[in-house]
Symmetry: C2
Subunit: 419 residues, 2 copies
């Protein structure tokens, strides 16, 4: 279980300049996206940097749902700038881009694929020292401020993949609920679904002592190590917060209590899955996002078709947990109960259907699109979706139940329509 330093509180963002000064930073890279670059979270950071006399350059060309090309562009910026620290202000896309920029600028002779997860990349362990990175999340879902993971679309293969190493974990996350008050409702909902799935997947992931291979040298062990007694605490706690606060947070932009709690839940779930890992919902989500045709999500201001990450993850969740329940029915029932199911008279073999029904009701209440069909997929797409899932071994191998290509086909098919 690895370190995540976070500081929580309304207004903590304005301390970023002091933190950087305490770290001895003199030439800082501030990364964000074009939408945020004119908004208060970035303004607060810039004011704090100016006030503390810290030189900085802004990179605001982060792509929402980044690609290898958009990563590469940020890396070039980072290499040229010779920065001694980074600040990422935004959602997972920005934090992940900034992690990659920091990594490759610190390891300038590496090829891009060197650190990308196998089998797509070489998955080399990171042994170069990185610069400090302070992450300021403005959405409440990714948990990227606490993890050593950076996800992107590999355009050539049309699949999502990533870089996973404890070394790229942010030095500090500033969890400031003030940034969550202006999120549109679909952004709150979709990012909340990401928290929900982080919690459910890490809690039901293969137990750490059953994972194989088991590298004898600690440095070659994966960042995602399977469910364990520590990640379990974070997963369950995050799930309780989702159950209590997500609907309120979606429905009322002024509900500071609900939005603050979801902002913390995102970090809590991040610490959990950042150590335990995720499995099928995430593994299957990458082709769902990567193969998007024309779907343009409400409330996302981007110039390209987009299935938001949290939506791509949650749409398969009823099917996935029906499939995995037989491996740990008690855990599946426990999470169903936390999400509102009455499980007092539940039978063990019904754990899967009970959790699936609970999830369907939860999604229906939150106006989620009715399955993969409603975001543009049909049966004819299933072979491509399965093909896009196969390279996601880093996560799919953490599913508690092994899955064949036929199993994956059936899971996609069962996710076409939810209600």
């Amino acid at each position: 279980m690895a370190v995540s330093n976070i500081r929580y509180g309304a207004g903590v963002t304005k301390e970023v300049g002091m933190d950087l000064q305490n770290m001895g930073a003199k030439n800082v890279c501030l990364m964000t996206d074009k939408n945020l670059s004119q908004l208060p979270p970035v303004q607060v950071v810039m004011d704090s940097l100016v006030k503390n006399g810290i030189n900085f350059k802004v990179y605001d060309n982060v792509r929402v749902e980044p690609t290898d090309r958009s990563f590469m562009e940020a890396i070039e910026f980072a290499k040229k700038g010779a920065f001694d620290a980074y600040v990422a202000v935004g959602g997972g896309s920005t934090m992940d881009t900034c992690k990659a920029a920091n990594l490759y600028a610190s390891s300038p002779h590496s090829d891009f694929l060197d650190y990308v997860n196998a089998p797509i990349g070489k998955g080399k362990p990171v042994s170069v020292p990185l610069k400090p990175l302070i992450a300021v999340p403005t959405t409440s879902g990714t948990g990227s401020e606490t993890t050593g993971v950076a996800i992107f679309d590999y355009e050539h293969l049309k699949v999502k993949t990533g870089i996973a190493s404890r070394a790229i974990k942010p030095t500090l996350g500033l969890i400031d609920p003030l940034h969550t008050l202006h999120m549109p409702d679909r952004v709150v909902a979709n990012s909340g679904f990401d928290v929900l799935c982080h919690a459910l997947e890490s809690y039901t992931a293969l137990p750490y002592h059953m994972r194989s291979p088991c590298p004898s040298n600690p440095i070659t062990r994966p960042a995602y190590q399977g469910s364990n007694p520590i990640s379990d605490i974070w997963a369950i706690h995050a799930l309780r917060i989702v159950a209590k606060y997500l609907k309120r947070a979606v429905r009322n932009p002024d509900d500071l209590e609900a939005r603050s709690n979801m902002h913390l839940a995102s970090a809590f779930a991040g610490i959990g899955f950042g150590n335990a890992g995720v499995h099928l919902c995430h593994g299957m989500s990458y082709p769902i996002s990567g193969l998007v045709k024309t779907y343009k999500a409400k409330d996302y201001n981007v110039d390209h078709p987009l299935v938001p990450h949290g939506l791509s993850v949650v749409l398969t969740s009823p099917a996935v947990f029906s499939f995995t329940a037989q491996m740990s029915p008690e855990r599946h029932l426990e999470t169903a109960e936390i999400l509102g199911a009455d499980t007092h008279t539940a039978r063990i073999p019904d754990a899967g259907p009970i959790l699936a029904d609970t999830l369907r009701k939860f999604l229906f209440d939150l106006d989620v699109d009715d399955g993969l069909a409603s975001i543009g997929y049909s049966k004819a797409d299933i072979p491509a979706l399965v093909k896009g899932t196969l390279p996601q071994e880093r996560v799919t191998k953490l599913a508690p139940r092994p899955q064949s290509e036929e199993d994956l086909s059936a899971l996609f098919e069962a996710s076409m329509k939810l209600y």
Copy 2:
């Protein structure tokens, strides 16, 4: 909030040589005490160092319940050795001594009092880089493997004080339950009481947003920041484990499940109180240990009178939580319920007595000495005990209820006899 790096599992200790190699260490200081130096935990570490070709020197002169003089001796050893990494194998005394040795060897021109907590020392922030320190706890109580705190007796004033800085937190804790199987029952009980009090005190500590002063620069904020939503999770989880496993762990040395769980609970509670802090049980424990006259604890193989830390902490717990309950009665009732009380019909004003009675029953079941009187103190000692508590502001100020000297006298008096 700073989380700690820990690795848990039977046998993880034998990986220490690889970890040090991965850190690039070539000249390691292995610290332990005379009792442990011939026992398996130290042997396993030495074998792993030899196998990985790492040069090391052993310092086995750690004092159980260390003093400024014993710290200083270890510091001299560290300075002379010019080590590039440290391994501490033992209980809190060893880990704390090793933290101090690492700190002052890394800051060779500092006076000893520079980093000691105010008002006894100067409480300077640590800005020098330290060497990696791997902690291998062999008792299940201190949580020192996860904290930035090192406690010692300041002989000149006959009080316990310490050094508290995130900078001295171990780089990695190896939580290996195999080391707990040979602990005698009183060592298990007393170290378990330390976990119990870490959990209860950090959960009932002053909330972080009510602490004052509130330094505007993050680097000058105390390691102990008051109870907060993250430390709460660790505290409650550790308390549940204590409630479920401590009695089993004390009574049966072969109960690997119970002893493993207590070993983890110690680290969990450490992460909680290492961020939130402790308050009156710990603040008052320092003179109880420091002023010891002739009491020699069963199962402790030392050549000087000794009130084990966990015992010195827990004896005042019924009085302390009676006193603090009015500030957060719900939390006091919640913890009483976890420890086995039936609180369904409890009234809010009874929260203090209910938790106190629950603790008395818990201690009685575990054959704990009947109060301060039974370990050699009388009413005549109370002024000295109070005087020894007053300099412990670092923790006593975190009590949810301010306390006068009269309050402290009354708490010591109420702790003379428990049953």
